[in-house]
């Protein structure tokens, strides 16, 4: 559901069914009793709130995914043998690595778009 996009992500435990029953028609029709009415009118804004919260959690998950990916690459690039603590040189390397990798991604995306244009797509 979160579309991690990485095959190495383990499948989360069976996700709760977020696509809960869409129940607009009947509950509105029955909204004569006050409790039903309260429920269906406040539900709409609660839904939006819920959507917002779930979206935020998804973004958080994607953020973590990215960090995992960067760390994977930059660890290989910057660290040869594990030591008892991080030295300055290694720290600088890692920070540079993250930024250069992002720069590279941007550059490749741009150039790739150009290449596709020149070749008239696939």
């Amino acid at each position: 559901m979160f579309g991690f996009g990485s095959k190495s992500t383990p499948e989360p435990a069976p996700a709760p069914d977020y696509s809960v029953e869409l129940d607009s028609g009947p509950s509105n029709a029955h909204s004569i009793s006050s409790s039903n009415f309260m429920e269906s009118s406040s539900s709409a804004s609660e839904d939006a709130e819920l959507q917002r919260i779930l979206m935020r959690e998804q973004q958080r998950a994607q953020f973590q995914q990215q960090i995992n990916k960067f760390n994977d690459i930059c660890w290989e690039t910057c660290i040869d043998k594990p030591t008892s603590k991080m030295d300055n040189k290694t720290e600088t390397c890692i920070v540079n690595c993250v930024n250069r990798f992002i720069d590279l991604n941007l550059l490749c995306a741009q150039r790739f778009a150009q290449i596709l244009q020149q070749n008239g797509g696939f």
Binding site: S40, T83, E91
Partner: protein
Amino acid sequence: MDSPPSTGRLTGAQREELIEQVKQQVAIATAQELLTKISEKCFKKCIAKPSSSLDSSEQKCIAMCMDRYMDSWNLVSKAYSSRIQKESMR
């Protein structure tokens, strides 16, 4: 005009629980992936010639490796956040 779908069947408590479950699952998945990575990386760095057991130097290396990998993770997290902030201010 269509009114937005109503999830009238979820109570407040159920919403809370749903959100908690989502958070938990994300945390678990993240932790699992991290552990998998750490095991892989540290095996490569520390176990040059697999023998019949993990000797003390290998164990020491593994402990350091894990600590450094987590240090690196934190560093990357900070660097990435900064970069995102920078980009968003352009």
